[in-house]
Symmetry: C2
Subunit: 201 residues, 2 copies
DNA sequence: CCGGCGATTGACTCGTCAGTCAACGCCGGG
DNA sequence: CCCGGCGTTGACTGACGAGTCAATCGCCGG
């Protein structure tokens, strides 16, 4: 029984991992459910044994990862460090995530975050929740006199997140070269750039 | 004959304008070609008299607008003004475009620019061309000693464009309030923020 | 060794649209 | 007044793919 349940959870995982590869390669809308099943090496119908719909597969992948990021942002804000370093930690986490699993990040960014009209619509709350937490970091930075008080935290959060996401997107679509060196450069660049504009004069 | 041709061009325009409204309201993938025809008040088949496919309708809208922006960026770079003001002019143009025709900008951003996996794929060259021109502005700023020389122009361009696009996206999906005041705030904020980080110390 | 139940299979159904096409009407010229 | 062609119509087709379901498999407890 325990073995069976473990196997069941593993099968589910196998399907999810296969879905990441297929979504990354072909895109969510363009791929067929049978592509996921083939990639996972299971029968078509089994996908529907573990998930209610094709949407739910993508949904699961997104929620799994996004909740980790949201939690991290919140935790980072609690640390007793300068706001600038907090943003640095968030930027590092996102860039590291891409280094660790580019395909998963591609799927989340391209199919969910940047697709707010189609699929992302259903997760707008979670997405904007993360933005709001970044805004909170900025707000705390302003409260503590580390950032200029006259910039709207909401705008700053969007600029910060947008800058990172666009850099990842440019890697995803080979518009900029990617490697460990570029990853490190990006981390410091984004933080320097955004914080440089937020620093009090 | 002249009248007839004018009418033909007008009909084409009517269909394009209707398509903007439909794409903005329902999204490109979710809407039917018959929705466009209905919105335009013409028969289904007429859409195919003026356009080869549903894709070509969106393509036309995108190219019409994007080419204007690309040309503007290039022209701005020729002006004898500080690099910071050049970026300001670009930011203003984009924000003004949104103020002037939010539906069209929504379609271009949501369905093309941010959909590089599906539709945007076919226009990657045009999209990245605009990024490259922004990078050139940064490069010239560095050459003239107005910007720090140690930031990759490609990265800076992505951060700059990404910041603006994310702000527009947040307006599009009601994550941040939008109005004339916010539009002005956004222009100066984005430029201050990005340039603040690019300014030599 | 047997009965039963959850896991697994994949052929099939069913709805949805993009794109086609044959027919029609309006207008201008002969 | 008739003819020809372009602009226009909308019913139809063909392809495609998500989701269903009845049948089969294989493991486990009795």
């Amino acid at each position: 029984m325990a073995t069976a349940k473990a196997t069941a959870a593993e099968k589910r995982r196998i399907i999810l991992d296969a879905a990441v590869r297929v979504f990354a390669r072909q895109g969510f809308h363009t791929c067929r459910v049978s592509d996921i099943a083939d990639e996972a090496g299971v029968a078509y119908g089994l996908v529907y044994h573990y998930f209610r719909s094709k949407d739910e597969v993508l949904s699961t992948l997104f929620v799994e990862r996004w909740s980790v990021m949201t939690a991290l942002i919140e935790e980072v804000d609690q640390r007793p460090i300068p706001a600038r370093e907090k943003l640095g930690a968030v930027a590092s986490f996102i860039v590291d995530s891409y280094q660790h699993d580019p395909e998963l990040m591609k799927v989340i960014i391209v199919e969910v975050t940047r697709a707010a009209n189609s699929f992302g619509q259903t997760h707008l709350d979670e997405i904007s929740g993360a933005y709001a937490r970044i805004a909170t970091i900025v707000e705390h930075g302003q409260r503590d006199g580390e950032f200029r008080p006259d910039v709207s935290p909401g705008f700053a959060a969007m600029a910060f997140y947008g800058a990172i996401e666009q850099v990842l997107t440019s890697w995803i679509f080979d518009l900029l070269p990617f490697g460990p060196a570029e990853a490190e450069e990006a981390k410091t660049m984004v933080v320097d750039t955004i914080c440089g504009g937020l620093d009090p004069r």
